[in-house]
C-alpha cells in the first residue's frame, strides 16, 4: 500500500484522525438536554437572544439539525467551569446546545461575548450537525456591535464582502440577534477549515 497522499496527512505528526460521520435523525433522545439553549436564564440582565434558522439548499428549514455554541463571557474571559449539562443559573459556562424545531428555527439565550486576549473581533464559535450532513461544520457568529472592529479583523477582512456578511448576525432589537445557517445555495454560510483539518 503506498503512503497516504491525503492533503491533510502531510500535516499529521501523530495518528490519523478517525472519520466523522453524520449525527443522523435519531439523536434527540440522547444529546439535547434541559436548559441546553439557555447559557444564562431567560430575561436575566444583559441576556440576549441568538436565534435564526438552519436551511438547506432550497431554503427549507432543517427539523433535525443540532447547533452548539461556545463563547467567552461579556468581558472576553474564556470560562473553564463544569456545569454545562447540569446548569447552575448563577454560573456561566459558555457552552450551549440545542436542536432545531420543525421549521428549522432555533434560539439561544446568552450574553454578547467580549473580545478575548490576542483575538480579533469577538465571536461565538458554532458547530453544526444535521441528518444529511456527513461531518460537523464549524462557523462563527460575529455580533454587529462594532463595525470598525469587524473591518479590522484579520479573518473577516480575508473574506469577500458578499461572503463576510454571512458571518455577521443581524441586530433585530437591543437584545436580539438573528443568525441563519445556510448549508448550501444562495447566501451559503462561510464554514471554517482550521489548519490540520481536512474539512
Amino acid at each position: 500500500m503506498p503512503e497516504n497522499k491525503s492533503t491533510s496527512d502531510a500535516a499529521q505528526r501523530g495518528p490519523v484522525p478517525t472519520p466523522g460521520q453524520t449525527i443522523g435523525p435519531f439523536y434527540h433522545f440522547a444529546l439535547p438536554y434541559e436548559g441546553g439553549e439557555h447559557l444564562v436564564p431567560p430575561g436575566s440582565p444583559g441576556s440576549v437572544q441568538l436565534h435564526g434558522h438552519v436551511l438547506d439548499g432550497h431554503g427549507v428549514g432543517l427539523q433535525d439539525a443540532m447547533l452548539e455554541i461556545w463563547q467567552a463571557d461579556e468581558s472576553g474571559r474564556v470560562v473553564q467551569q463544569v456545569g454545562s449539562l447540569t446548569r447552575d443559573p448563577a454560573t456561566f459556562t459558555g457552552f450551549g446546545r440545542t436542536s432545531t424545531w420543525r421549521d428549522g428555527g432555533y434560539s439561544f439565550t446568552t450574553v454578547a461575548p467580549g473580545a478575548t486576549d490576542g483575538g480579533g473581533a469577538p465571536f461565538i464559535a458554532v458547530a453544526v450537525f444535521a441528518r444529511g450532513l456527513l461531518n460537523r461544520l464549524f462557523t462563527r457568529v460575529y455580533l454587529p456591535a462594532e463595525p470598525e472592529a469587524l473591518a479590522a479583523d484579520p479573518f473577516l477582512s480575508s473574506l469577500d464582502e458578499d461572503r463576510r456578511v454571512t458571518l455577521v448576525a443581524t441586530r433585530e432589537a437591543a437584545d436580539s440577534y438573528r443568525f441563519d445557517v445556510h448549508l448550501q445555495g444562495e447566501g451559503e454560510t462561510v464554514f471554517l477549515q482550521f489548519a490540520r483539518h481536512e474539512i
Binding site: Q12, G14, G20, I23, G24, F26, D56, V78
Partner: protein, 266 residues
C-alpha cells in the same frame, strides 16, 4: 412493511432506487477519489448516494481560519455533569435489556497522540432489534422496555472510556429501496479545543451490510473506513457475562501550544 425509518428524499421526487444503483454510485465516487489520488481521512460531505446529503453539503470552499480565542479551549465537563452510572446502558430501566451484552472500551487521543483526559463522551444507539427510542423511528421492530440506548461518560487519565451496553441491530431506512444500516453506535466527542469537536459512528467487524451503506461508504478511503470499525478482543470478554469490543478514537490535532502538553505521551 408500511413505513420504515423516516428519511425524506429532499430534492428527489422519483421512486426509491434499487440497491444496485446506489452501489454503482458509491463505486463511481470511490473510483473518482482513487483516480485523483485522494486518500481522504474524513467522510465526503458531497456524497449523493446518501440522498439526504444532496441539499445539505456546502458547495463553496471552506475559509481557512486560524483558531483563536474560545476555539483554542474546550467546554469543561465533570462529575457534576455526568453520573458514573450513565456509562451502563443495561441498568437504566430497572430490568435486563434483551440482546448480546457487550462492553465497548478504548481511548480518546488527539491528533498528536495525547490522551484526551476528563472529557465528555456521549453515545446513542438502537436496541437489539434495530429500533430507536425516538418518536420518528417508525421501524416496526419491538421497543425494549428495559433499554433506552443513550449513555455518557467522562474519560479517564489515559483518555480511556468504557460503556456497558447491548449490541444494536441493523435497521431499514428510506434512502433507497431495501436500504439497511449496518449495526452502529453513535459517538459524540470533545477534545482539548473546540476545533476537535466531532460526532461519528462506530461499526462492528465483519458486517455484511458495509458495502451497501452509503453513510459508511462516504469515507471513500478503505483504510480510513477501517478506523470506524471496532475490533473484537477475547481478552476483553468476560466469562459467561459479556463480549468485549475495543475502539480507539483519534481527534484532529490541537493548535494551542500549552505547557501541560509537555511529557504528555502516555
Amino acid at each position: 412493511m408500511s413505513e420504515v425509518v423516516m428519511e425524506e428524499h429532499e430534492g428527489r421526487q422519483c421512486a426509491p432506487e434499487p440497491q444496485q444503483q446506489i452501489t454503482a454510485e458509491i463505486e463511481d465516487l470511490h473510483r473518482q477519489d482513487e483516480r485523483a489520488g485522494l486518500h481522504r481521512t474524513q467522510s465526503r460531505l458531497d456524497f449523493a448516494p446518501y440522498r439526504s446529503s444532496v441539499l445539505r453539503h456546502p458547495t463553496k470552499a471552506p475559509a481557512h481560519a486560524d483558531p483563536e480565542g474560545v476555539e483554542l479551549f474546550s467546554p469543561v465537563f465533570g462529575t457534576r455533569d455526568v453520573d458514573p452510572l450513565e456509562a451502563d446502558l443495561t441498568i437504566q430501566r430497572g430490568g435486563e435489556p434483551i440482546g448480546e451484552r457487550i462492553r465497548i472500551s478504548g481511548r480518546i487521543l488527539d491528533g498528536d497522540g495525547h490522551p484526551v483526559r476528563g472529557q465528555l463522551v456521549e453515545i446513542w444507539q438502537a436496541n437489539a432489534a434495530g429500533r430507536y427510542i425516538h418518536k420518528r423511528d417508525q421501524h416496526p421492530a419491538p421497543i425494549d422496555p428495559h433499554f433506552t440506548g443513550a449513555g455518557r461518560t467522562i474519560t479517564g487519565e489515559d483518555g480511556g472510556y468504557a460503556f456497558l451496553t447491548i449490541k444494536p441491530g441493523p435497521y431499514p431506512w428510506g434512502n433507497h429501496r431495501n436500504a439497511w444500516r449496518p449495526a452502529h453506535v453513535h459517538f459524540s466527542l470533545f477534545g482539548r479545543e473546540f476545533t476537535q469537536r466531532m460526532i461519528t459512528q462506530m461499526y462492528f467487524p465483519g458486517d455484511p451490510l458495509f458495502a451497501l451503506d452509503p453513510i459508511y461508504q462516504s469515507v471513500t478511503d478503505p483504510q480510513a473506513r477501517d478506523r470506524l470499525v471496532a475490533t473484537y478482543h477475547h481478552d476483553l470478554s468476560e466469562h459467561e457475562y459479556l463480549l468485549g469490543y475495543h475502539w480507539d478514537i483519534v481527534l484532529t490535532g490541537a493548535h494551542a501550544t500549552r505547557m501541560e502538553l509537555e511529557g504528555d505521551h502516555a
